[in-house]
Point group: C3
Chain length 154, copies 3
Amino acid sequence: MSDLLRVAELNAAYAAAIDADRLEDWPDFFVDDCVYKITSAENHKRGYGAGVMYADSHAMLRDRVTALRSANVYERQSYRHIVGLPVIGAAGTDGIPAETPFLVARIMRDGRTDLFATGAYLDRIREEAGRLRFVERIVVCDSSHFDTLLAIPL
Amino acid sequence: MSDLLRVAELNAAYAAAIDADRLEDWPDFFVDDCVYKITSAENHKRGYGAGVMYADSHAMLRDRVTALRSANVYERQSYRHIVGLPVIGAAGTDGIPAETPFLVARIMRDGRTDLFATGAYLDRIREEAGRLRFVERIVVCDSSHFDTLLAIPL
Amino acid sequence: MSDLLRVAELNAAYAAAIDADRLEDWPDFFVDDCVYKITSAENHKRGYGAGVMYADSHAMLRDRVTALRSANVYERQSYRHIVGLPVIGAAGTDGIPAETPFLVARIMRDGRTDLFATGAYLDRIREEAGRLRFVERIVVCDSSHFDTLLAIPL
């Protein structure tokens, strides 16, 4: 299978896990020594490191899920990711680079649905323990205005 | 071609037929002895069978199209499906299982566009008479609040 | 690689260039002697030629980019294309025909995000100078109501 298809397949499984509220599966899409970051296009362009959320290990991603489960806020709404096809770069020693557009709709308890976020995933991907995993996933949101509580992983 | 690509191709053709108002082509995406159901995530989770719409044969799907054509309500707006890539399960005797996210935008006559529905297709797919067809398509909408008249197939 | 995948890859690169504001790369997705047109579903159905925007050469596309850069209006907001999978027709002497659904979200400076446009690309595509390029791209928007200034290529 081509890298394009394999990465597309990875993205589809990633989105399905989050949208079905299988958050405990989410950290396993990453290698142990990973970087996961949510930031805005403007911050990313200016080279600001911080962003809205930052994790640099598999353990931190698991902690994030535990926090979400105990906070319980995520139950009030659900989300739906629509993920486009990736643009794949040349594979290097640090994995396959990929850039993939996404849109996330948010469905409120009262039925209203809105556009929660749009943006692009900037990824480096590597095969480990038999499947593709994210070495780095930078979630660059188009909007600089975030909900104060980002209830779910993007 | 991989199952992933073949199912993605099927979904693309399915969405194109509906959005181009070729509703008469819609039943042929299903085998004769099919199940087609529209339900909400909440009802689906609780195991409620009913849902918003239910058909268990190709003939019922054709009847549905006839009803839509005579009701004529579908002309007041148009729809646009954006369908993600499927997550494919292991093929069994009852076909290939697939789960695919979707988003449908509705375009009103006055030009306003809104998010009409988001959700996931839960499918079982089989090759019959030379092409892939749906044995079962359960349309699980994220929102529990539907327009009273679901004008089109999802 | 199948035509389906190659066209999907072309569409992904096309959308990424526009959304990353690499407008200068946009004309190179077309052959020299191309047709690019933005129109509405209603006008397209009735066979009206005109539409919202029309270009019939690579040079006209470049001029369009120059005009956008000098007008500078495009900086006030950003856009995000989500492009579905194409339905590919039988390749003829005039290239591969493809029909592809799209959705474009618009992100305002104040952070609000709305559905800017939905529709379908009606394309004829040909390999030239080592990569696929559009011989013809007709952008058929579902809505007949456009912003008076279409700031970006669709």
